[in-house]
Symmetry: C2
Subunit: 158 residues, 2 copies
Amino acid sequence: MNQPRLATKQDMPRVLELINELAIYEKEPDAVEVTVADLEKDGFGDDKKFTCFVIEDNNMVEGLALVYTRYSTWKGNVLHLEDLIVNEKHRGKGLGKKLLDTVVKYGKNLGVKRVSWEVLDWNEPAITFYEKNGANVMRDWDVVHLDKTGIENYLKAL
Amino acid sequence: MNQPRLATKQDMPRVLELINELAIYEKEPDAVEVTVADLEKDGFGDDKKFTCFVIEDNNMVEGLALVYTRYSTWKGNVLHLEDLIVNEKHRGKGLGKKLLDTVVKYGKNLGVKRVSWEVLDWNEPAITFYEKNGANVMRDWDVVHLDKTGIENYLKAL
């Protein structure tokens, strides 16, 4: 098995396929509005919004980890893992662990005091994997979203 | 009451006081490692990590909202509200709502499709306030942290 490598622009069509696969698994099949062109611009343009690592199996990209920095008012710069995805048919081979290794090393090199991410509370295989690797799944912290319609409605009510 | 305004470097000592106040409320009194110098550098240096709005009451900063952009693989650029804080003695006067108004308008101007934040599941006054304003508190999404010790232990085990 190969080691993870930095993604290139040419990987973005496959990356979007994997993003869509995860959205289906997370029961939000219609949530993905991002396009290949968006990923190319946002990952490889003048104003880079993220860093993406990919891992291959049999010369095909079968997993990815997409990260960016955030700012914690407690810890300063932190690294956020937005997506860790391994294609369903290639799970159980250690691809996810190799990707997480790469992310933690990358965070260490950046000097961050935390790597953060989010998980669905029913995704037990993911939670077991994260906890086994020393992460703290904080069940008392919930994620809040004001979506596009919410933004519009909020502003109309002002 | 004044409207929120962009924070200046000179506000950072008071901003750190409010950050510490929130950490105590959230039962993590020792979690704040950020210093005034960090906030000055990270908010006003060459490589800006956040934007901070503050609101005054009787010529004293009594509330703040600190935001930055993140990258959603579903929605592209999104705005994240890291902290929304109002000094305990100045709650119930509408300062928090004015700050949230400013954040949502700021997100709209950036063209984001989402404003996100995180909340403790026992913080009912905050949850009630957010839901009243159209936000979706997603109780099935948990926050995961690998902290500084976790990062060290993870890398030692490789």
